[in-house]
Symmetry: C2
Subunit: 285 residues, 2 copies
């Protein structure tokens, strides 16, 4: 089976490494298709891929499965470009963190003899380059697939088998449902985390002392704000509506806690802090 990977960053590189290392590694030919010659050279030298090219159409022409692992903003453009270079029966998937708009566009752009199933591995790092790629990135992590009514059953099955090889746990969600879930636990929290840093960054008095005293609590609460801004922009623009809805819900939750603090209402503060503690401890016990 030939697997083409468009975009060789952290995710694309890690998929290549994980597939090669899997029980079916010897049956798979991994074709790497990065944007730059330099990355292609690096991937070949490190034997992360079996073969490769920077010619997108040529690279995908013989593939059975194509993973599109570029930044979100390029995914539909690439799908549009490769559509008529793919062989009949080829399966295309992506790894973008927003799904509704990408899945709809992909389904309308691709010719009928090619199958699309959206995907989103819940694994990331602050470093997004190929150098950070590792075969264990997806081990025991959730990998969301977003099949729709239009999805081919056999394509979903084939992709599920392939992703299982990565060591990931598969969760199937409808694209709209996916976007709400990810807005809640990833995209909205990034907005909160960035706003938290900006509160201090824009504060006028004692800013130096605040920076000096910032300890492990502030460090962890704001860690995701150190991620690549390009990823954040893509999340906020492509998953716009769900992110705004979740920010609204967050603001309501904060307003309730704020009111309890303003009124010195010990019982109400206790109730809200205990709810948060219990709910979180149940997730990460």
């Amino acid at each position: 089976m030939k697997v083409a990977i468009v975009g060789l960053g952290l995710i694309g590189g890690s998929i290549a490494l994980a597939l090669k290392k899997s029980t079916r590694g010897s049956e798979l030919t991994i074709i790497g298709i990065p944007r730059r010659e330099e990355t292609l050279k690096e991937a070949l030298e490190k034997t992360i891929i079996d073969e490769g090219t920077i010619d997108l159409k040529k690279g995908v022409s013989d593939a059975d499965v194509v993973f599109i692992c570029t930044p979100i903003s390029l995914v539909t453009q690439i799908i549009d470009e490769i559509g008529h270079s793919l062989k009949p029966g080829a399966i295309v998937t992506d790894v973008a963190s927003s799904k509704e708009s990408i899945v709809a566009k992909a389904e309308s752009l691709l010719p009928p003899e090619v199958f699309f199933v959206g995907g989103h591995p819940m694994a990331g790092r602050e470093k997004v380059k190929l150098a950070a790629a590792e075969s264990g990135l997806f081990k025991d992590r959730i990998y969301i697939l977003t099949p729709t009514k239009k999805s081919d059953r056999h394509a979903v099955k084939a992709l599920t088998d392939l992703i299982t090889l990565l060591g990931a746990k598969i969760l199937k969600l409808d694209p709209v449902e996916h976007d709400r879930v990810v807005a809640a636990i990833s995209h909205m929290p990034l907005a909160i985390s960035a706003a938290l840093v900006n509160t201090i960054a824009e504060h006028k008095h004692h800013q130096k002392e605040m920076v000096t005293c910032a300890s492990t609590g502030f460090r962890d609460t704001t860690r995701i704000a150190s991620g690549d801004p390009a990823l954040g922009i893509d999340m906020f623009l492509t998953n716009n509506e769900a992110v705004l809805e979740m920010i609204d819900e967050f603001k309501s939750a904060l307003t309730r806690l704020e009111a309890a603090i303003r009124e010195h209402d010990t019982d109400a503060i206790a109730k809200l802090l205990k709810q948060a503690q219990n709910f979180r401890d149940d997730i990460y016990r």
Copy 2:
């Protein structure tokens, strides 16, 4: 020199261990004064303290320095109780994370021949019991002292010397200034973190999928929400005004980012995410 420690939890126990292990350890007698017999037994068995009692007045009567390491809500009550049992020239300090109200009360409650200097070590853990105490807890961490115009210069100097033995870096702040700084980088972020968990805890749809998909980003952003609710209640009640002011500033920062997202304003989103990334990377580089 005799050092009494009222309250043997994580902080009190760690101060005892760090002082005993310091270069002046052999000159110091550590008197432990926990609330419960059980804790006293544990502290003596583990030789965390040299001697001890659960009789507060008796325990402090011979001390040169008294560290009050109880929950915030008990500090002024204890200061009131011990005032007339202390010997002239004794120095009293606390470790509470709010300072303005405690320092003002302590200065008015204690007799004139006893010296008070407020303190706040910027070191904590989710576990607050004696069993978690360790001599290295304060190493290279900030330890804030909040002397006022009323503070005795020699008392401040003596306490500074003692705290230096813990391995901490001392930062002197006015109590009001302290409360604003700590509201910004510790108390307000707890409110944000708890509200973030509560947004999911109170969300009606797909909550199960959200929990399943919650990854390292959500875990870190919400870590402090798993702390002891009793500590949070004390922070919000004793540092009420500064916390509410910082929540207001946070809401303004979030509203700016939200507006940029709503308007699909790529430049504005980029500017705000880059500001957050740069400011945070400067703190934790």
